[in-house]
Amino acid sequence: MADPMRIRAALAGDETTVRVLMAHIMEPGTRRDAAGALIPAHFIQDVDASHNGKSVLKAMWTGAVSQNPFLSFKFKGAAKGDKVVVKWVDNKRDTRTDEATIA
């Protein structure tokens, strides 16, 4: 299981800003190692953020997203104390789900 994500969710007015830092190597599959062999691709492909069971963002990523991906987005309709759940799935079908409370 990968390292946990760091998620911060803050409510300002009626809008919640969510900032996520995921721990993932995000290997694009185009780099070569010292011996010249291609390093296999290993990157997050799907991200799904939800609030109260409703999806508030979906993303499809490639190896072009930087290592230890950062993601920030905003949505309306949440209250302080609610939970935001973020889930990612990578190309090796490994997955990670973390949640944060809206402050």
Binding site: T30, S55, K58, V65, F70, S72, F75
Partner: protein
């Protein structure tokens, strides 16, 4: 053979029921862009995969540095003031696979996303958004001093 046909029909029927119940909207039922599109090699192919040539719009903004010291970690943000923005795409024109990321924005979520991408060389960052089914774009050139694709 029998069991797979039966289960395939069951799945289709169940899905159709969900769509008819409005639990899964028609637009969500069709993926914004399929995964194979992400391996296209040119900006034009990426635009084709997304659905056509977007119209340039000043309601779409790309926020990226003028000069990025580290091409492996370039912060890129896209905002769209267009109503009913449902999809945002980030394309790095001269990357080996230009279509870098796609975001699906449901109602209630702002058309305002930020992430960090790898840029192989100085090039245009093109943001394409789909609003009300139509495509719009904005472009910003970002110079890269140290390429980020391992080259």
């Amino acid at each position: 053979m029998k069991s797979t046909r039966r289960s395939a029909l069951k799945a289709t029927g169940a899905f159709a029921t969900l769509v008819s119940l409005g639990l899964v909207t028609q637009s969500q039922a069709q993926a914004a862009v399929d995964r194979a599109s992400f391996s296209v090699k040119t900006l034009d192919d990426a635009l084709k995969a997304i659905g056509g040539t977007p119209a340039n719009s000043d309601q779409v903004t790309v926020v990226s540095p003028d000069i990025a010291e580290n091409g492996a970690v370039v912060p890129v943000g896209v905002t769209s003031k267009l109503p009913n923005t449902t999809e945002i795409y980030i394309i790095i024109e001269k990357n080996p696979t230009p279509l870098a990321a796609a975001f699906m924005i449901p109602a209630g979520t702002a058309a305002d996303v930020q992430t960090r991408v790898k840029m192989g060389q100085s090039t245009n960052v093109v943001a394409v958004v789909k609003a009300d089914g139509k495509l719009f774009s904005a472009t910003k050139e970002t110079k890269v001093t140290l390429g980020g694709c391992g080259g």
